[in-house]
Symmetry: none
Subunit: 178 residues, 4 copies
């Protein structure tokens, strides 16, 4: 594999597991079997690496949200979105952990400001497109509520409640949007 890709992969995992601030580049390089200088060569700085990683996860998210079929009715689309959200949440906790982290932490938030804005408006636009078909009058508020609910679920599942009843919540929320 390309050393650059290797670096991104390892860094993504470590930043997610240990947090950006608490992951020294020395550890990243060591685990990626790569010299320290290579980061500066490819990404200029630690922040540069972070941006690269965030950009990549955005592409992943965009990929998921773009699959929605035009043939489906809006409620089917929502359910599909929810299904993919919950399966992803269970399968890849770290992915969510990382994204929560960098958005909430003031300095990473600042470093990624433009990228976060770009990503979140994309997500909002896509969500609103679906709610527009259901109820164009309240679509703005409903879209925000929909996104907030999922974020809140992820936050509580990941960070707060160890015994969070994810499966029941999933059933409950899917029933609600059917």
């Amino acid at each position: 594999m390309n050393k650059r890709e290797q670096l991104i992969e390892i860094a993504t995992r470590l930043f997610s597991e240990r947090g950006y601030e608490n992951t020294p580049l020395s550890v990243v390089c060591e685990k990626a079997n790569v010299s320290k200088g290579l980061i500066s060569h490819h990404f200029k700085s630690k922040d540069g690496l972070l941006r690269e990683i965030f950009l990549k996860t955005t592409k992943l998210i965009v990929g998921i949200n773009t699959i929605d079929n035009i043939n489906q009715n809006p409620n089917e689309q929502l359910v599909e979105l929810l299904e993919s959200f919950f399966s992803q949440l269970e399968a890849d906790k770290l992915f969510f952990q990382f994204n929560m982290n960098v958005i909430v932490q003031p300095n990473t938030r600042e470093v990624l400001d433009d990228l976060i804005k770009e990503r979140s408006s994309f997500i909002f636009k896509k969500t609103k497109e679906v709610f527009d078909k259901i109820d164009s009058k309240n679509s703005l508020v409903k879209s925000h509520m929909f996104i907030a609910e999922l974020d809140g679920i992820a936050l509580n599942y990941l960070g707060v409640y160890r015994d969070f009843p994810l499966k029941q919540i999933k059933e409950y929320i899917i029933k609600k949007y059917t």
Copy 2:
């Protein structure tokens, strides 16, 4: 004011604004007009100071959640809870910022593990008491959903969407729980 209290107050603000990791104690001491040695004298370590602060904010939260009047019916209680949540969210962004921060960040999460558990079970217990009166069958899921929704709203309001329609969301959610 007591130097100890002064230290806590300044540290709370700085940790909230800049994040725990990115706030050197030297800066805290400087802004609090206090010598470096005093922190270890009073709080043993930086983590100790963090725990002290988290404990204090927990007391504040407990205070809010305990006001609920026994004379009110459960829906009135929910609405009162929502009102106080939204007014607090608007009034003291930093308070929420701080709490999100330390819960999501892996190492602060670890330092505060017991305190976070304690606080969140208290909140959950109090919330469930209300939902038990409304619908004892689904109270567990509904309580979790209620908490998740509020957290998600805070997260999106604080960290993601600059133009988050807080007022409309508030109206929407209050109507929902009435």
Copy 3:
């Protein structure tokens, strides 16, 4: 001895011998038997240490130039100045080396800009006071020439000619100003 003073003394010597850029703080600390953190504690940064040192050498120079006796006639004063210059140049090459270095090197020049200006105007003022008594009409040019000659001698003696005939030059120039 005070560790702070010790640090300044060692750093002065090393900066003179090896040049500012080529003297790592690690070496300074090692030779001064002092931890790395102490530099940041006392001088904030390497540049801060440099400024401190330059300031100290300025005080030394000011000390020398202020001894000139009011009872002497101007030519006697010049000769005394020359005598002290040449004996200092022979006794403490490093002192001159250091001063040349930091003035000529662009980045140290920038760091010390205000201090260099201050020092050089002091020297010029003092020199001109003497030449004013001899020939007030050409005192400006003559003062500048006097200073330039001495600097040029130091430069050639230290940096260019290994076999620079310092003694003969001294005789020649003292005769000239008598």
Copy 4:
């Protein structure tokens, strides 16, 4: 232009402006639109590049000092030398800056030791040839003084006094040697 030449030209300017130590090769390569590997290919090392540049400036100096006409009397020769020195000093400050720099800085001084010796003995020889014709007895001291004066003027003009009266100094010194 040849990439090799381009590299030398850019490096000369940058070394002069920012100093040798403070000019990374990466910057030189970037500004010269050239890859990093090319430097070691052409000059072996950074020191090699420095030597190449110093050699080139020496040729320039030798060129200037060799024009002196045999038909002129020695005083005329001195005046011509002075004229060319002052016009060069005004026209190309960086040229002098660079030469001062590398001679005074200990490590560049070491790298260029043989070249500096060679150049300075050439200059001294040429100067002494003129002074021998005027006054063979004191020619050694007078030659050294002549060179030192010019160096001192350059030093003060470039590095110390912003309001150095170069024109008046020039008149004064030309009158002196006529």
